[in-house]
Structures are given as structure tokens and as C-alpha cells.
């Protein structure tokens, strides 16, 4: 249509029927999406769509929706013998989108859902009275009980959860008094997004899945993770941490700032939920996290001559998961040169122990157990004793150049075979850290 110039306060009516008569719009067209564009500030133009019967006695009118949104809520539908409601939503964007109209009834406990893929400019029309009278099933196969008379509804853009493409319209027609009321559902946007948590602390060389939370203005201030919709992820110091996606990767001790951007419908309904670009930031501190407070938590000897110990430790930042890159191990040496030959007799011949012995467990466990056993015995028994020396150590790539760090030791593991005169028995005895275990040799 040709441009129209309006002076301040001027009203102008554009008859669409004229365009049909002139052939500019097909005469058989029954509906269309009308889009008005104008220069100036928001609300400088107040546009209303009107339609009257031939007598000009009966007419309907509804305002143009200003702006498009991802979600509209808070308007009412009403259907009974003298009322009907028409609800429409359309795709006001440049690409197809899946629209969902949900009618709530039974005090909000029940819902009727219609879902449809809309091409640009395409609409959904719902004649709610017809849906009830004809018991039309919804997208889930459910129907609204025919005696239902009112409820609320929402319009949701399922494909564009942050910046929607839908506009809304509705008419409630009162057949008694011959008037129609149009409703304006409230558009629903988002509060400003932020990283959750706002600050990150962790060790080098781990991956952390980032959350960016935003408050949905129409969902009871519930916070949703919108990280998957954020873009232009970056880190201010890639030598400390990299951030090219919602996964933060820590590199080396230091500090950095993580940044990501989001385009979202703002929750300012008065301004028709405008699109706003947000930048969210997160302080990143990468620190070398190591095991601390290594402690023996139990020690006992059993009737078979085995020594049992448990040890526990903590993490320097209080989070054992941050020790994922570290291991905890024992480092045991025997007298002489490797391998150590267990003296036979009294120990069964042929057993040697290559050393150092370096068994390890993940440091993130926070606890391990240590059992001191023996290879077996062989007579004729001979008294002897030897001592193994044990250290407990951690290895973290970010500490001590990745080399072991002692957390306990040296501990002496003393194994003795002796003859007990009072009982005339040969005894094997093991001891460490004041704990002793004994067994009578067979």
C-alpha cells in the first residue's frame, strides 16, 4: 500500500475492501495479516482494525499488537450461550516457528493445547465456542468438557524461547448487548541473565559446565538456565581459562573474566517486552588445589596377622571434586636393593618384592585403606625381622612440578618372626604406627 502521511492528531481510515474492489487484494481473500510500519517513537501511531456489517450497525474492533514476543499470558476466554471468544496468534517474524495456544480451565488445573507450525505471516484462529460445541480434540487428543465456560490462556513460541515471533489478538463477543471486548494478554520477557554461580573457583585442567540463569517474568520468578542460547563466549585471559562455549576449561593458576551474550525479550510489559542484548560476566579464579589434612582415621590388626589402616584427607579449597587431576599414593622401600627377597625360611621361598611400591588411588576419593599382608610361611622357622619404610604422597600436575609431595612418613612397617617360649609357638608379628597384628605360624 502507498505510504500515508498523518499530521499530529489526524485519523485516517483505510478500507481494505477498496483494495479488493480494485483487485490489489484478491476478491476471494477472507483473511490476511496486516503489518503497519511507521517512523517515529513507540506509540506515535495508534492503529485499530475495524469490521462492520453492511448496515454499519454491528461491528468489531481490535487494536494492532505492538511488538512480538515469545509468550503472552494473563488474558481470559469466555464461552456460554451468549458469549464466544476468538483467539488468534500469528507469526510476525521472518522465519517459520512452532506456536502453541494453551487454554486453561477448571481453575487452571486442566489445559487444552493446540500446537501448529506457522510460516511467516501465518496465523492460528481458535473459535473457542466451536471447540467446545464440537468437542474438537487438542494436540494431545484431549477435549474441554462442554459445560466449561471460562478460563485463561497463553500463547507461546516453542521454537524461540528467548526472543519470540508471535503477536496476539482476541475478541470476546457478547451476543446480548452486541458488543465485543478485546483482550490484551501480557507479554512475558526475561530478567537480566547472570552466570550461576557468579564466581568460579577451581583447579587447572578441568572442564566446568557453565550455567547462565535468567528469571522468567511470568513463571513465578523461576530461574531457567539459558546458557545454550548464549553466544560470543570468551575469556579475558586464555592463559588462565578458555571459554568458547558453555564449557569452561581451566588452564593455569590466575584470574580471568568469562563473558557471554544473550538476546532476549525484556520483561518490561509496558514497553511490549522489547528485545535487549545482555552481556553476562563471571569472575574466574584458577588455583592449584591440593590434598590437605592427611590423617590416619583407623588402624587395627586381625587374627590372620594383617594390618588394616584407613586414611582420609581434604582439599585445599574444601571441594574434593577439585582434586580430580591429582592422585594419592604410597611409596614403600625395603632394605637393600630391589627386589627384596623375603627371608626364607620363615617366609615361603621364592617371593621377592620389587620396590619402590607405588600403588595409587584418585585423590578426589578423600579416603583410602591400606592392608599390610605377607606372602606365606615355610618351616623350619627362623627368627628374623626387617623393616619397610613407607611414605604417603600426593601428585598434582599443578604442584611441585607434578612431582610427588609427602603428606605422611617415614612410617616403619616392621615384620618379625620369633619363637615364643611361654607358649612354645612361632609367631609372625607386623606393626606400624603403634598398631600390631600377630598370627601363630602353622
Amino acid at each position: 500500500m502507498p505510504p500515508v502521511t498523518l499530521l499530529p492528531g489526524q485519523i485516517r481510515t483505510i478500507g481494505l475492501a477498496d483494495f479488493q474492489k480494485s483487485g490489489q487484494i484478491p476478491i476471494e481473500a477472507k483473511w490476511a495479516t496486516v503489518t503497519l510500519g511507521y517512523t517515529g517513537k513507540r506509540a506515535d501511531l495508534v492503529a485499530v482494525a475495524l469490521s462492520y456489517d453492511k448496515t454499519s450497525r454491528y461491528g468489531l474492533q481490535t487494536p494492532f499488537a505492538e511488538g512480538i514476543s515469545r509468550l503472552f499470558k494473563g488474558s481470559m476466554w469466555h464461552v456460554d450461550s451468549t458469549h464466544n471468544t476468538l483467539i488468534t496468534t500469528g507469526n510476525g517474524g521472518p522465519e517459520p516457528t512452532k506456536a502453541q495456544v494453551t487454554l486453561f480451565y477448571n481453575g487452571g488445573q486442566s489445559k487444552y493445547r493446540v500446537e501448529k507450525l506457522l510460516l511467516p505471516g501465518q496465523q492460528i484462529w481458535l473459535d473457542v465456542g466451536q471447540l467446545l460445541r464440537n468437542q474438537v480434540p487438542d494436540s494431545d487428543g484431549k477435549m474441554i468438557p462442554p459445560d466449561t465456560m471460562y478460563g485463561s490462556y497463553e500463547l507461546r513460541d516453542l521454537d524461540h524461547p528467548l526472543v519470540g515471533l508471535l503477536y496476539e489478538g482476541k475478541l470476546v463477543i457478547d451476543k446480548n448487548y452486541g458488543h465485543a471486548a478485546y483482550g490484551c494478554a501480557r507479554c512475558c520477557g526475561w530478567g537480566a541473565p547472570s552466570f550461576d554461580p557468579g564466581s568460579f573457583f577451581g583447579p587447572p585442567d578441568i572442564d566446568n559446565s557453565e550455567d547462565v540463569g535468567a528469571v522468567d517474568g511470568c513463571e513465578g520468578d523461576q530461574v531457567f538456565n539459558v546458557a545454550d542460547s548464549a553466544y560470543d563466549w570468551s575469556s579475558s585471559n586464555t592463559a588462565v581459562a578458555t571459554l568458547t562455549s558453555p564449557t569452561l576449561h581451566t588452564v593455569a593458576p590466575g584470574t580471568a573474566t568469562g563473558i557471554s551474550y544473550l538476546k532476549m525479550d525484556n520483561n518490561n510489559a509496558r514497553a511490549f517486552c522489547p528485545e535487549i542484548y545482555y552481556g553476562a560476566q563471571q569472575g574466574i579464579t584458577v588455583q592449584c588445589v591440593v590434598p590437605t589434612s592427611f590423617t590416619q582415621t583407623s588402624g587395627s590388626g586381625d587374627a590372620q596377622g594383617f594390618l588394616h589402616f584407613t586414611y582420609s584427607w581434604n582439599s585445599s579449597d574444601g571441594n574434593l571434586n577439585d582434586l580430580a587431576a591429582c592422585s594419592m599414593r604410597e611409596y614403600v622401600t625395603y632394605p637393600g636393593t630391589t627386589p627384596f627377597l623375603w627371608p626364607s625360611p620363615s617366609y615361603t621361598a621364592g617371593y621377592d618384592s620389587p620396590f619402590p611400591v607405588t600403588n595409587s588411588v584418585p585423590a578426589s576419593d578423600g579416603v583410602f585403606q591400606d592392608t599390610h599382608s605377607y606372602p606365606g610361611f615355610q618351616g623350619p622357622y627362623v627368627a628374623n625381622s626387617f623393616t619397610a619404610t613407607q611414605y604417603y604422597q600426593y601428585i598434582c600436575p599443578c604442584a611441585n612440578g607434578g612431582q610427588p609431595v609427602d603428606v605422611m612418613g617415614p612410617l616403619s612397617i616392621v615384620r618379625t618372626v620369633y619363637f615364643s617360649s611361654p607358649s612354645a609357638e612361632w609367631i609372625y608379628q607386623a606393626s606400624k604406627s603403634g598398631v600390631t597384628a600377630s598370627v601363630v605360624l602353622p
Partner: protein, 118 residues
């Protein structure tokens, strides 16, 4: 008595001692056969207490509450099995301390590996 004598012969072969009783291949075969029979008496569903009648812990540090471990044959630490346990019925498995009543859920075939003690 035959088992003990056979064991001595077998071990003597392992170290190659020359002043020990002479063992024949038949002696070793008997010992291995008897040992294997004894090891195979331990099966899933039995308890840790049953296991320790035939095997003993390989020793060294291990994870707590993992309910799995390496055990060595009582008469030769070169013969090992990998064993997994579950906590007795009615108790929580995760993080629970070991118990003589832990139930064996799986036990591997015996295999040969170097003995290592700490």
C-alpha cells in the same frame, strides 16, 4: 598331607632350588589341580568370610567403599583373583565399611601375576 608335599615341590620348581626335594611334573600337576579345585569352591553369593578361607588380600592401598579388590591364593601369592562385593542385604553399599558378611557378586578366573607387598 599329599597337598602340602606337592606344594613344597611346586614352589621349589619356581625358585629352581637344587637342595630341595625333587618334584615331578606329575606332583605339580596334582598341586595345581587340587589348588584350582579349592579356589573354585569360592563363588558368587558367598561372603567375604568364605573368601578369606582360601584367599587373602593382595595388600597395598585401595579405594574405600569400592567393594572390589585383588586377592591372592593362600598358598601362592602369584595366583590372584579380582573380586567384587555387595553390602549385606539391608545395608547401604555406597561408602559402607567392609564387612566379613559382604557378599561376593563376581569373582574372576584365577590368573598369574607378580606378587607385590607393601
Amino acid at each position: 598331607m599329599r597337598t602340602i608335599l606337592a606344594l613344597v615341590c611346586s614352589l621349589t620348581l619356581l625358585v629352581g632350588a637344587t637342595d630341595a626335594p625333587t618334584c615331578t611334573l606329575a606332583d605339580n600337576a596334582h598341586w595345581l589341580a587340587d589348588s584350582l579345585k579349592e579356589m573354585e569352591t569360592i563363588q558368587s553369593g558367598m561372603t567375604r568370610r568364605d573368601l578369606l578361607k582360601v584367599f587373602r588380600p593382595a595388600g597395598g592401598i585401595s579405594r574405600v567403599g569400592s567393594f572390589k579388590g585383588v586377592y591372592v591364593y593362600r598358598d601362592s601369592p602369584f595366583i590372584k583373583v579380582d573380586v567384587e562385593f555387595a553390602a549385606p542385604t539391608g545395608t547401604a553399599a555406597s561408602g559402607a565399611p567392609e564387612s566379613q558378611e559382604d557378599v561376593i557378586t563376581s569373582i574372576s578366573r584365577p590368573y598369574l601375576a607378580q606378587a607385590a607387598y607393601d
